[in-house]
Amino acid sequence: MSLIIQTVSRGITPFIFVYAIYLILTGHTSPGGAFAGGVAIGLLIVLWYAAFKLSTAERRVSCFTAHAGRILGLLGFLTMGTIALLLGKGFLENFLPKVAGHLTMSGVIILLALGVGILVGCETVLIFYYLFGRRPKGERR
């Protein structure tokens, strides 16, 4: 790809990433949310692929990382639910203190959003890789 596109994409990458994180973490005070943020993270891979090569994208986020990430996300979500269960609340109930409008005091919402965001992002990356016939190391062909 041309130098201009590469330079621009290199420059724009952190902004997209920060925007995605913003979408995930402030989903409870402003529009956005975990799903949009997650897919935005996944779109970064598409950008790297389009500007450089697939191998460049793979070097930054490998298939294995994406796998680990989605399992981590799902487990994080379930762990939050189970902790609530063990504390005597219902499964996935909000057990942390919460203050309306506060950036971090929305109970487990922010943690759940983080889990969902990681999961959705990694799923998107994996969808992308799978369509290119990539698979994580050690997985049998």
Binding site: L85, G88, K89, G90
Partner: protein, 593 residues
């Protein structure tokens, strides 16, 4: 440590330490067994600390608030029955774990084995100690599923089939049980065992009968009552022998425990059902023992004896008197001892020789005398020869059934005893006695002390409970029955020299069995000569066709569903056409109404 947490420890310590095993087992493989033994021993100690309270005639009813908003409580209801049963369960688990240190050494998947075994023992203690029907069901399922994994352990094709069958049958039963529990909750609004008894004793109506039928089926599957027994002779041989001992010794006992708990403690005994339950028990006993006679697989034979002994226990329960219940409970305890011992004996034989087929065994008594003596003790105990423990409990069951007004059915107990004696004579003769020694023996390993010790302990229990039968009757069985309102009818404690009709009959039975054994060749010739007798023989040989009836039924269901495949043409257009057509139909329905 106060008494309050003892039951909790007994339940949760094995379950929690099972999570430790995969972590520790990775670097120190030997520690897996040590942790298991340690956890179960501590659990036993925790239960033992409850004993003073129980012996004073008290009972513990503890509630731990858990999920307040959902109104869920963790309830412990520890009366004498629960404490003794959980003590028995954990004791057998301890013996089985010690046994499997040597028996399972060098086999694959030991991490899974030990951790699932721990979950199994903890959940069994949970079943016995839980004081809430929902919690009871949760532990019940935990026990069932962990047992499924244990049956599956060797992962051979036969084992997988057997485990699958076990899983399906037991879960159909569990579904019935869950339905019954939900029905109880919907009608009474209470799940605590402590308060349910009074609520339901006065209730009547159709739903109660339906609930009772469902409960009976639910526990009956576990306790291998006859139409539902077919999982047992398949699952028991395929499990590792230490697990078979647990399965047969105590897990089927949970079904009996549930029956006692529900039918005496919660519903109040339905005297209208007396004849049904006793008859079912008698049929179970007869079917089990006749099938056992025809087996050549050593573990399958012992498994069928489990069916028959459970039938006897069900008869005792069905009598509905304090004597019958005492006999059933005593027999349950005795059965746990001698059946576990028999399976451990079979495991030792398999360990040494490597085959389960009795026709290929022989002359083992010279090579493994300890195993032989233990097997002999277990065999005479299960056959009800005085002064071993099986005799007393069987006599109590016989007398209770006789007193309840079913003299013909009480004879069944005698007949079953005769056949049991016969089939164990056959087992001991084929495996240990006859001169033919199989070739496999030459590559034998020596049975290690860790396998002998549990067998010796169980044999000692059999002898103790037999020679001093009054002690367990007075200290264990009678306090355990204290929780149920059965009146103050004196419990008849049989003795060897009691000149009552039943005792005399059982002596006569022993003599008859010996005569039949000596004349077995001519009897078999007669059987083959007479058509009705040989038809009966074929029935027994094919295990009364219960399984093939099931297979026919499921085959019919499956072929019925195959017709549905025609609708699935594989073209999206057809599916959309179905959707649209059904939508139009719904619309028409809405318009017409």
């Amino acid at each position: 440590m106060s008494l309050e947490y003892a039951p909790l420890i007994a339940i949760s310590l094995p379950i929690l330490s099972s999570f430790l095993i995969p972590i520790v087992g990775r670097c120190r493989p030997k520690f897996r067994a040590y942790i298991s033994v340690l956890a179960i021993s501590v659990a036993i100690l925790a239960i033992l600390s409850l004993l003073p309270t129980i012996l004073d005639g008290g009972r513990l009813h503890l509630t731990y608030m858990w999920a307040e908003r959902l109104g869920l409580e963790f309830e412990i209801y520890a009366d004498a029955l629960a404490v003794y049963m959980s003590l028995l369960a954990l004791f057998l688990c301890l013996l089985a774990t010690i046994y499997s240190v040597s028996y399972m050494a060098g086999k694959e998947g030991l991490t899974r084995y030990y951790s699932v075994l721990l979950i199994f023992s903890g959940s069994m203690a949970g079943v016995f100690l839980s004081g809430n029907l929902l919690q009871f069901f949760i532990f019940w399922e935990l026990m069932t599923i962990s047992c499924f994994l244990l049956v599956l352990h060797f992962q051979t094709g036969v084992a997988i089939r057997a485990a699958y069958k076990y899983f399906i049958m037991i879960h159909l039963g569990a579904l019935c049980l869950l339905t019954a529990i939900i029905a109880i909750y919907l009608n009474v609004g209470e799940l605590s065992m402590a308060t349910l008894g009074g609520l339901l004793a006065t209730a009547n109506g159709g739903w109660l009968t339906a609930t009772m039928v469902l409960t009976f089926v639910g526990f009956g599957v576990k306790a291998a009552v006859v139409p539902f027994h077919t999982w047992l002779p398949d699952a028991h041989p395929e499990a590792p022998s230490s697990i078979s001992a647990l399965l047969s010794g105590i897990m089927v006992g949970t079904g009996v425990y549930g029956l006692i708990r529900f039918f005496y403690g919660i519903f109040g005994f339905p005297y209208a059902w007396q004849s049904t339950i006793i008859t079912l028990g008698a049929i179970t006993a007869l079917v089990g023992v006749t099938c056992a006679l025809a087996q050549v697989d050593i573990k399958r034979l012992i498994g069928f004896h489990t069916v028959s002994q459970l039938g006897l226990i069900i008869m005792g329960i069905g009598a509905g008197t304090s004597l019958g219940l005492a006999g059933a409970l005593f027999h349950l305890i005795n059965h746990a001892f001698f059946k576990a011992l028999l399976f451990l004996m079979a495991g030792a034989v398999i360990y040494e020789v490597g085959t389960r087929n009795m026709t290929r065994l022989g002359g083992l008594r010279k090579y493994m005398p300890v195993t032989f003596v233990c097997g002999l003790i277990a065999a005479v105990s299960i056959s009800g020869i005085p002064p071993f423990n099986g005799f007393f409990s069987k006599a109590m069951i016989t007398k209770s059934v006789f007193d309840a007004g079913y003299p013909m059915l009480s004879l069944v107990v005698i007949v079953v005893s005769i056949m049991t004696l016969l089939s164990f004579t056959k087992l001991l003769y084929l495996v240990f006695w006859r001169q033919k020694t199989s070739k496999v023996i030459k590559s034998r390993k020596k049975v290690p002390i860790l396998m002998k010790a549990p067998m010796i302990a169980l044999a000692a229990c059999c002898i103790t409970f037999g020679l001093f039968a009054h002690w367990p009757l007075e200290q264990i069985v009678l306090p355990a029955l204290g929780g149920f309102n059965l009146g103050t009818a004196p419990v008849y404690a049989p003795s060897i020299f009691d000149p009552s009709l039943m005792i005399l009959l059982s002596y006569a039975g022993i003599v008859l069995a010996i005569v039949i054994w000596l004349k077995r060749r001519s009897i078999m010739a007669t059987v083959h000569r007479f058509a009705p007798l040989s038809a009966l023989y074929h029935c027994v040989k094919s295990e009364w066709w219960v399984d093939s009836v099931y297979l026919k039924f499921t085959g019919a269901v499956v072929s019925g569903f195959k017709g549905g495949r025609r609708v699935m043409s594989g073209h999206l257009r057809d599916y959309v056409a179905w959707l649209i057509a059904i939508f139009f139909m719904l619309l028409l329905y809405a318009v017409l109404l």
